[in-house]
Each structure stands twice: as C-alpha cells, then as structure tokens.
C-alpha cells in the first residue's frame, strides 16, 4: 500500500500533534463562546463534556484506523464502499480540510488585526501564514512533528505564564452559582466547543504515518485528557477574572494577558505571549494543510504530494479572505451552521464508515507496518 510519503513519527510526537490540532485556536475562542450560553457553569460544558466527546471521537477514529493498518483514508473507504464512493469521501474531506484551513487562517488574521495591528490589511497575515505552512508541508510530516514538539512547549509556557500571573486578579466567587439555569444551558454551551474537541478526528488521516499504529488510541486519549484539563483551567480563569462579562470579549485570554501587571515593572507582556502564540497557530495550520494535501494526493492517485501543495494554498488563501465579511460573521457562523457541519465530518461520516466496515466484514491486512 503506497503512502505517498515515507515519513514516520513516534507515539509521543503523534500525541503532541493531536494537542496542537485543537489547542491554539480553541484557547482563544472557546471561553467566550461557551460562557455566552452556559454562564457560570461554562467549565462543565467546555471542559468536562468536551473531554467526554473527544474520547468518543478518538475511539471512533482510531478503531477505524486500527481495522486498516497502514492504509490511508481514501484507500480504506474505497475498500469499504467501493471505488467511486471512496473517491467521493476523499473529495468531501479535501473540501472540509481546505475550508477548515481557510477558517483557521482567518481566525488568526482577525486575532492579529483586532488585537495588535489595526492598520494592517488582513491579507498580509494570511499570506505569510499560508506561505510558512506551505514550506512546512513540503518538508513532510517528520519535520512538522519535530518542530511541533518544540512549539508545544512554548505554548504551554505562555499559558502557564498567563494563568499564574493573573491569579491575583481572580475572584473565584464568580464561579457561583453552579448549575444556575439547570442542565439545559450546559448542553447548549457544549455544542460550540464540540466542533473543536472533534478536531481530533484527524487521527484517522495521520495514523498511517505512525511507527506503531497500536499507539494511536492511547495517544489520542492522553491528548483528549490534556486538552480537557487546559480548556477547563482556561474557562475557569476567564470566568474568575471577568465574571459573565467574559462573553463580551472576543478573545478573553488575550484580554487576560493585558491584565498582567507585577509591581509596575512587568507590564504589556501580551506582545510576548503573542510571539509564542503565532508559532502555535502556524503549527496548527501546517498540520491541517498537510492532511488536506495528503488526502488530495491519494484521491487523485499521485506518486508525489508536493505538486498539489501550492494550488491548495492558493485556494485556502482566497477562501480565508472571501468567506466572511467580518469577525462577527465568523463567530456567528460557528453558532449557525458549523455545529451541524462539524458533527457530520468529525463524527457521522467516520462512524458510518466504521459501521459499514463491521457489517460488510471488511478489514485490512493484519501485518501492519
């Protein structure tokens, strides 16, 4: 079975890739979106419920991947559904992945423009980010995984830095009352972060590049747990510092960083935090972009994935600018349609593939790579 690329990554590199797939934008957007509906109970919907959901996604995606060791998504969906429907699944995922890259790039651009450089056109940030990611993708998964290992530590440093230094501003009375409006608002607040937790479905695209495919499930669970803990802390701190007003900020965590002030000496650290964060988002975009390129190369039956990198980059860049008029529309889109769309490609399609594979008793060769 041809894999297009010979790169191989280890179990721990795989786990950190999964963390980076979700974390960089989730930390920025989720607190406000969750607190808007769940109020003081937001940490339950954004932290606890999303972790349970992430476990389900990891189970479905990695069980599917384990059934077909060493095979890519397009190969085994052709085996499960037949040749043409398999290619259709591939085409659907090219669309999904390219569109998600465009949205993540747009989120990044909006974050930079609204928080730091109001005068600069968003095109500049989007173009630089895509160009950087394209160069990473052309270098292959091993380079991305190693770079990611380094960047994740920077992101954790930035988060711990923010969370500890704003601790003096936090008032944990803001977390009461818990279960304010009953159980329904908690479920309502869970729908938006669900799309982010579900991003772990990329396991079934990245799995063939793992040294030992049996490590995928365990790495996925570890990543899900780690993300759950970080998101809970993130939401709790945002609530404790701002109270329910956190829902009015687009990026509460960035506003948190501007609150840091130690003895009139350590101030305006948000620019420093930003530098670390840009690295994290670049990695996130690179991984998603890589997945899009790999799926495209397999769908079109290519020997080499490099020729499709730049054309897909052009599409991502154009869409990143044209799909939304402004940031309000972007945030609204997550509420209006993204919930149903993300549920479809993150859960329903993989679960259906798994179900049909079980019913038709299809599985890959048991030798593994």
């Amino acid at each position: 079975m041809k894999l297009i690329e010979e790169g191989k990554i280890s179990g721990s590199q795989f786990m950190w890739l999964l963390v980076t797939i979700v974390l960089p934008t989730a930390v920025l957007f989720i607190p406000a979106l969750t607190i808007k509906y769940s109020g003081t109970s937001a940490w339950i919907s954004g932290g606890v419920f999303t972790t349970i959901w992430a476990f389900i996604i990891v189970w479905v995606a990695s069980t599917l991947g384990e059934r077909f060791p060493g095979m890519t998504l397009v190969d085994y969906s052709s085996l499960i559904l037949g040749k043409f429907p398999g290619k259709l699944v591939g085409a659907f995922y090219i669309f999904v992945l390219v569109l998600t890259v465009a949205i993540v790039v747009r989120e990044f651009g909006e974050f930079l423009v609204s928080s730091f450089m109001q005068q600069t056109p968003i095109f500049v940030f989007n173009f630089l980010l895509i160009a950087l990611a394209a160069s990473a993708v052309r270098n292959g998964i091993e380079v991305i995984a190693r770079m990611n290992h380094f960047v994740v530590s920077l992101m954790f440093f930035a988060l711990i830095f923010i969370f500890t230094l704003v601790f003096s501003e936090a008032d944990f009375k803001n977390l009461y009352p818990i279960f304010e409006g009953g159980i329904l608002p908690i479920f309502r607040g869970f729908f938006t972060p669900m799309g982010w937790a579900g991003e772990l479905f990329l396991i079934f695209i990245l799995m063939p590049y793992l040294n030992n495919y049996r490590e995928a499930k365990y790495a996925g669970y570890k990543a899900a747990l780690m993300l759950g803990v970080i998101m809970s802390i993130d939401i709790v701190i945002a609530l404790a510092v701002f109270g329910q007003q956190a829902a009015d900020y687009v990026f509460p965590v960035h506003t948190l960083a501007t609150y840091i002030s130690i003895a009139g000496f350590l101030e305006r650290v948000e620019a420093f935090i930003l530098a670390l964060w840009v690295a994290g988002i670049t990695m996130k975009v690179s991984i998603w972009y890589y997945c899009a390129v790999i799926v495209a190369a397999r769908t079109f039956n290519l020997q080499d994935y490099k020729p499709v990198v730049l054309p897909l980059g052009v599409i991502c860049l154009t869409w990143s600018i044209t799909i939304f008029d402004n940031i309000t529309q972007l945030v609204e889109h997550f509420d209006i349609a993204w919930i149903g769309f993300s549920l479809t490609f993150e859960f329903i399609v993989p679960a259906l593939l798994l179900l049909i594979a079980v019913l038709r008793k299809k599985r890959g060769a048991e030798k593994g790579r």
Partner: protein, 76 residues
Amino acid sequence: MYIIGLVIAFCGIILFEAPKLIKEKMWGELMAFSGLLLFGMVISSAAVLNIDVPNPTALIEMIFAPPTKLLTSFFE
C-alpha cells in the same frame, strides 16, 4: 491593479512546479496541479475583480443551518 500581482504570482507558481513535472513525465500530477490551480485562479481573480462567486460557507449555512437550529432549539 491587484490583478497584475496575481498574474505574476501564478506565473511564479507554474514556473516553480510545472517544468519538473513535464521533464519527469508525471502527467497525473500535472493534471491535478493544473486542475486545482485553475480553480484557485478562478476564485482569486473573481475576488480581486469583485465578481460574486458561490461561497462555500454560504453553501454550508444553506444545508446545515436548519438541522443545527433544530438541534440547539431543544436546549434553549
């Protein structure tokens, strides 16, 4: 005015990828490259020239907004 920059960018991409593919007779790769790049050219030129083309997020909102609304309405 921007269209000139766009043309230069596309010439750059083609000169960067295509000669190698033609020399090594990788026709399938060349087809995929040209197809995707053509699609990219169409949507990016349309964006620069302010022509309306169907927007993927509008499509998603058309299909997925009703079921999403139904799902969330149970919890409000």
